[in-house]
């Protein structure tokens, strides 16, 4: 019997059963790799090769391979670092904050979004490590007992806070993601026909059987992890913004940075999730699970965070004028009208103007428009970080030391290379892991699918809010 809710759109369309969900999600895991996937992987591997070559050049010849100079000591490396970390914010936001808010539409996108988070943080971590110049001494950032007279790390430094924030964020996100994967690995294990697949997925599934006791604990663990990850995700970009805000550089020394960076991170993260999910749902035929309703919900988050970012840009400008500080005022006038004016206006156009198109319902629900706008947002957010970093540095307090920054081929290679690294990891994930959280989608199927089952017997304290959309 077909049931279309008069209030909410169903989150799973096409009248799916539990078994259909298993089939649809496991299909690409069990099938042989298709040509399109192999072609995409080949392109990504070319990117990865560029990354390896550029990294080799950086390590062999040193940071001099990059376009940095004595005035602009931070440029593409930190821009790319902040860009990737920002992209890595959507996954945990979707799985943690939306879990706490009981937003059921998260269930079919959280898996891929969390995977994206983890891969984006891996890409982000490459930049500060490479910028160290001697990455084999990277362990010096940890407070380890040492032979330098027990000289400890400086806990007053935001750069050290970053070490703790990024590594905690990465490991907690990884654990959260893996906990969610365990029941789905068990599903694949129990369907596997080949001995290698069965043993591999048995190993990955940690011996999960789906007993009521285990599910009860699993739900508790998910909820507490969501509660822990929520302040964590907000802390990460707050601390990243403090790398700038605690310095005394005009253009960086502002109290608005933490909320402004967090909003920007969510903005760019959702854009990247949408870019990837629009392709993934098409390639893996998951249109019934990642519906237009999902796309529209994410677009609403984009318009909210995009508007916050827009207000932040204007506030920064106002405060620069209102502060009466000459250097601060110059930093902002230089951003908009100086030699990097094109970067500033690219940022303004992509981040402030384009997302406003999502006020129109037809655009919010158009896949093509959404795809194009999310690409614009990703470009705009890259320019935002470039503008903040390079334009604040390149004209400092002494006009005699003013300089311009231009990237070398190695700078470009590392950046393009991390995109290759990201897509290599994402494509491997998409082939061998279940891209949609089967267990969670099954748990919302009864309350939010096109098929309305007739409840047999009475409801025993079943999820209270799951039946709000069914009218007897």
């Amino acid at each position: 019997m077909q049931h279309v809710s008069p209030i909410r759109e169903p989150l799973v369309t096409g009248g799916k059963t539990y078994h259909d969900i298993t089939e649809d999600v496991c299909r690409q895991v069990e099938a042989k790799p298709n040509a399109r996937w192999a072609a995409a992987l080949a392109v990504a591997l070319v990117g990865l090769a560029i990354f390896i070559y550029s990294t080799y050049r950086t390590l062999w010849y040193g940071i001099g391979e990059w376009g940095l100079n004595k005035t602009v000591g931070w440029a593409w490396d930190i821009t790319n670092f902040v860009w990737w970390v920002g992209i890595g914010h959507a996954g945990t936001l979707i799985s943690a904050i939306l879990l706490l808010f009981r937003q059921k539409w998260r269930t079919s996108i959280n898996r891929a979004a969390e995977a994206m988070t983890i891969f984006a943080v891996i890409c982000a971590a490459m930049f500060p490590v490479l910028h160290m110049g001697r990455p084999w001494l990277a362990y010096w950032v940890l407070p380890l007992p040492n032979t330098f007279g027990s000289l400890w790390v400086n806990f007053n430094s935001p750069l050290l806070w970053d070490v703790f924030a990024i590594s905690t964020y990465f490991s907690v996100s990884l654990v959260f993601w893996y906990i969610g994967l365990i029941p789905d690995f068990a599903t694949i294990r129990d369907r596997a026909t080949g001995p290698i697949a069965r043993r591999a997925y048995a190993f990955l599934s940690f011996g999960w059987t789906g007993s009521a006791k285990a599910w009860s604990r699993y739900e508790t663990v998910s909820l507490i992890l969501a509660g822990l990850a929520t302040p964590l995700v907000l802390s990460v970009h707050t601390i990243v913004s403090m790398d700038f805000a605690t310095s005394v550089i005009p253009g960086w020394h502002t109290t608005i940075f933490p909320p402004y960076f967090v909003a920007g991170a969510i903005f760019s993260g959702f854009a990247m999730v949408l870019t990837l999910m629009i392709i993934t749902r098409k390639v893996f035929k998951l249109e019934d699970y990642i519906t237009l309703e999902h796309v529209e919900s994410m677009n609403k988050v984009i318009i909210l965070t995009g508007s916050i970012v827009g207000v932040a840009y204007i506030t920064e400008f106002f405060i620069a004028w209102y502060s009466g500080v000459e250097y601060e005022q110059y930093a902002f006038i230089n951003r908009a009208t100086g030699p990097y004016w094109w970067a500033y206006w690219a940022m303004m156009t992509c981040n402030v103007i384009t997302p406003q198109l999502f006020w129109f319902r037809t655009i919010r629900r158009s896949l093509t428009a959404t795809f194009i706008i999310t690409i614009f947002v990703n470009i705009g957010m890259w320019f935002e970080r470039f503008v903040i970093i390079v334009t604040s540095l390149h004209r400092d307090f002494l006009p005699s030391s003013w300089a311009m920054f231009s990237p070398t081929i190695i700078d470009i290679g590392i950046y393009v290379g991390t995109i290759g690294l990201f897509f290599t990891l994402f494509l491997l994930f998409a082939k061998f892991f279940p891209v949609v959280n089967m267990a969670e989608v099954k748990s919302i199927l009864k309350s939010s699918s096109e098929v309305k089952h007739h409840p047999h017997g009475t409801m025993h304290g079943t999820d209270k809010d799951s039946h709000t959309n069914t009218h007897p």
Partner: protein, 174 residues
């Protein structure tokens, strides 16, 4: 030693919940229930107590907070004091971010490791599943059979009359 189980297979969570209640009311002890996804309300009907994992998380978090504060205060305040940016040796506001991160890290890992231990989840190549469909689309109620005591026909009838689509027997080597 082999143990024998009777498995009632269900295909709907609400039927299952009602069946659990009726089976338990009839005085039959349920060994375990397996489902492809977490069923809300099953804890109450099965009599599963609330997990104490949040308490574990709290104390692990508390350990993280105290450890982080002790580490920073001892390292910068006592072991090798230095004046950094004119701040006091023990600059507590500057220690908050690292303290927060270590709190979250210890709480999350402490809880998850405890979860793996108490639920006996660990990487292993061999897994004993009662019915493989329980990770796909079926709900399985397992009842342990005591040779000579359990009335198999009555049990079969009880499960079937409560909506089981199949009733199977399974021997498990423990």
């Amino acid at each position: 030693m082999t143990k024998k189980f009777v498995l009632g297979i269900y295909d709907d969570e609400d039927v299952l919940l009602q069946a659990i209640e009726n089976v338990r009311a009839a005085g039959t002890k349920i060994y375990e229930v397996f489902s492809p996804y977490p069923i809300h309300g099953i804890d109450d009907v099965l009599g599963i107590k609330r997990s104490r994992l949040p308490i574990v998380a709290f104390f692990c978090g508390l350990f993280g907070t105290s450890f982080a504060l002790w580490m920073q205060i001892w390292m910068l305040g006592f072991d090798w004091p230095m004046i950094i940016g004119g701040k006091p040796h023990i600059a507590l506001p500057a220690f908050i971010p690292v303290t927060f991160e270590l709190t979250v890290l210890c709480a999350a890992f402490g809880m998850v490791i405890t979860f793996f231990i108490v639920t006996k989840l660990k990487p292993s190549f061999k897994v004993n599943v009662f019915d493989k469909r329980s990770t796909d689309d079926k709900f399985v109620m397992a009842i342990e059979v005591t040779e000579g005591v359990t009335d198999m026909n009555a049990l079969n009838d009880l499960l079937r009359s409560n909506g089981a689509i199949e009733v199977n027997e399974k021997e498990v080597i423990k």
